[in-house]
Amino acid sequence: MVSCALKTEHSHFFPKSVSKIVALSISMKILIIEDEVELSAVIQDFLEQEKFLVETAFDYASGLDKISNYDYDCILLDIMLPGGSGMELLAQLRALGKSDSVIIISAKDAVEDKVQGLELGADDYLAKPFHLAELHARVKSIIRRKNQHGENIIHYKSVSLFPDERKVLVGNKELILNRKEYDLFYYFMIRPEKLVQKTTLAEAVWGDHADQADSLDFIYSQVKNLRKKLKDQKAGIDLQAVYGVGYKLV
């Protein structure tokens, strides 16, 4: 684990270009503190499929126990817990001087909760219910931000994505993408060869699922553009439609 102080030191001494490259998700430890056992199990299943090491806690006491004794790369924290509030847990964590990244997941997507959570040092806030792909994207980006001296580039085949610069390289040539194209491509790059559902993408770009028809058409056209650009650049990768449900980066 790398603390905040170390992070600054390191980024100071090691410029990005010489940073050590490690596989991102391998052996990344995640703690889920969530009292809904089923939800916790689903998230655990999913994250384990993504090769994370996952531990769970179901109440305040066991959560506190885990965060005091171990370090995690990312903690998924519910606010309403038996025996206490996730906010208190977050405060405890910071009081212990730990810098584990925290994503608050809560059914209460009230703004004040969000603000309070972020003020207490949470890194992100995700309102229930969420797409697992969305959760995955957030976890990845948090771990990436945290390990600034580590893996900064996402590779797939000959394509590299630089999240900090929002830049994509095919071989050594830059692939010029507009904003939304980049956002969509990011989703594909963090989960290559996996199905990315259209609804997830639509919500990511439009933010309100209600307006399906328009945004799905929009996604379709954006994906079409992306495919054309990838093909023109001879990237050797393609976005494959999966039964009209979504796409897969292959």
Partner: protein, 425 residues
């Protein structure tokens, strides 16, 4: 025609008074006249007795053939003339030099036998009331009385009843200003009128009961929406996991995707309902000075790709800055919902205009259909005809946000085949 309660009574009282006074006046007149004649007649009869006595003692009085100072005359009865000793009273007119006109007199005619045993006619007269003058005077007096009565009635109504009814006015005013869920207190009334106090107490109780029910209902909606979030999250995430399964065939995968899509609609509905109750519960309290110009610029930037995709031209007009003290998040939701609404309903190749004027922020867009009904367009779950996927809550949220700031108002108009939604300060 609607009239106020106090004028309502006065209208009938005026007519009633008029009738009562007319009847009373006729009776009064008849009694007075009766009494006057009675008095006069008694006097005449008394005079007759005195005259007859005088004639016995002084026979030369029999020679009084014309009315003189004594106001009587005597003439001997002719042979075939009708003769009677009964008193006959009548009302006649005689010339009166003082007034220089004919004046009414009461005349007593009778007959008697003198000492000479001859029959004589006796006529005694006396001046009596002038009935027309009496009627005239009486009418005048009554009219004055009537006028005074009506006037005092009016004044009493205006001042006394007005004062007595003031608490009622306050109660009406209270009801008028009452808005559900505002948690205002009823303005207290200060009166010793029993009925008003009762009315006030009952209203107050009803009010509280309603508020409690309303609160309960709001809490119920919020709790229900809230409680649904976790099971929805579990279901959706399980479907997500299921969709990762590479062995699924097309129809299975499509069906799962469709289920998820329906669930996501539910999620959105839920979120919108939660948001509505939070707005109504005034949970967004981070009030600061926000510029609609800044927010719309950011949002337009956000939506630009989608706008390009739909070939919609969006023009931002910033004649002035539209600034207001409100919660920034709510301001963003407000503008975002209006913009999304416009984008959603603008046909391909259409145009959206966003105007910022000092006291007015408006969004217009090219219309496909006819004008919307301004009375229901902001209603919850009201949806346009061509709408399938929408929650029908977007504009309801806009309205709810605007309503939570008393200085803001929202409206809709339609002109030149353009829909326009505007926010006014």
């Amino acid at each position: 025609m609607k009239i106020s309660l106090k004028n309502y009574t006065i209208r009938y009282l005026i007519i009633a008074f008029l009738v009562i006074m007319a009847v009373w006046a006729s009776l009064f007149y008849a009694y007075i006249l009766d009494e006057v004649y009675d008095n006069v007649d008694d006097g005449l009869k008394n005079q007759k007795i005195e005259i007859l006595r005088g004639v016995y003692e002084e026979p030369e009085l029999l020679e009084t053939s014309e009315y003189g100072i004594n106001q009587f005359r005597i003439r001997p009865a002719e042979g075939d003339e009708e003769f009677s000793e009964e008193n006959r009273l009548s009302r006649e007119f005689f010339y009166m030099p003082y007034d220089d006109e004919q004046e009414p007199y009461r005349v007593l005619r009778t007959g008697f036998y003198g000492r000479d045993h001859k029959p004589y006619h006796l006529e005694i007269r006396t001046s009596t009331v002038e009935e027309d003058d009496l009627i005239y005077d009486l009418t005048t007096a009554l009219m004055v009385l009537y006028a005074v009565l009506v006037l005092s009635l009016y004044l009493i109504n205006t001042f006394v009843l007005g004062r007595a009814w003031r608490p009622f006015k306050i109660i009406l005013d209270n009801l008028n200003h009452y808005r559900f869920g505002t948690k205002d207190k009823l303005r207290p009334i200060d009166t010793n009128v029993l009925e008003f106090n009762q009315l006030h107490t009952e209203l107050d109780r009803m009010w509280r009961r309603n508020e409690e029910l309303f609160d309960e209902q709001k809490r119920f909606i919020e709790n229900a929406a809230h409680e649904l979030q976790t099971p929805l999250a579990i279901t959706i995430n399980k479907l997500d996991l299921l969709m990762e399964d590479e062995t699924l065939n097309e129809s299975q995968l499509t069906q799962i995707a469709e289920s998820k899509s329906s669930l996501l609609r539910l999620v959105n509905l839920n979120k919108s309902l939660l948001m509505l109750s939070r707005i109504e519960n005034k949970q967004y309290k981070n009030v600061e000075r926000v510029s609609f110009n800044d927010i719309s610029r950011e949002l337009v930037n956000e939506f630009q790709d989608l706008l390009d995709f739909k070939h919609i031209e969006l023009l931002l007009h910033e004649e002035s800055t539209f600034e207001i003290e409100m919660d920034r998040y709510l301001a963003t939701v407000l503008i975002s919902n209006l913009l999304r609404n416009a984008i959603k309903y603008t046909p391909e190749g259409g145009q959206i205009n966003v105007f910022h004027v000092q006291d007015r922020f408006s969004v217009t867009n090219t219309a496909i259909g006819p004008a919307l009904d301004p009375d229901i367009v902001f209603n919850r779950f009201h949806k346009g005809e061509q709408d399938k996927g929408s929650t029908g809550l977007g504009l309801a949220i806009v309205k709810s946000i605007v309503d939570s700031y008393p200085i803001l108002s929202v409206g809709y108009t339609y002109a030149n085949e353009k829909h326009m939604f505007f926010i006014k300060k």
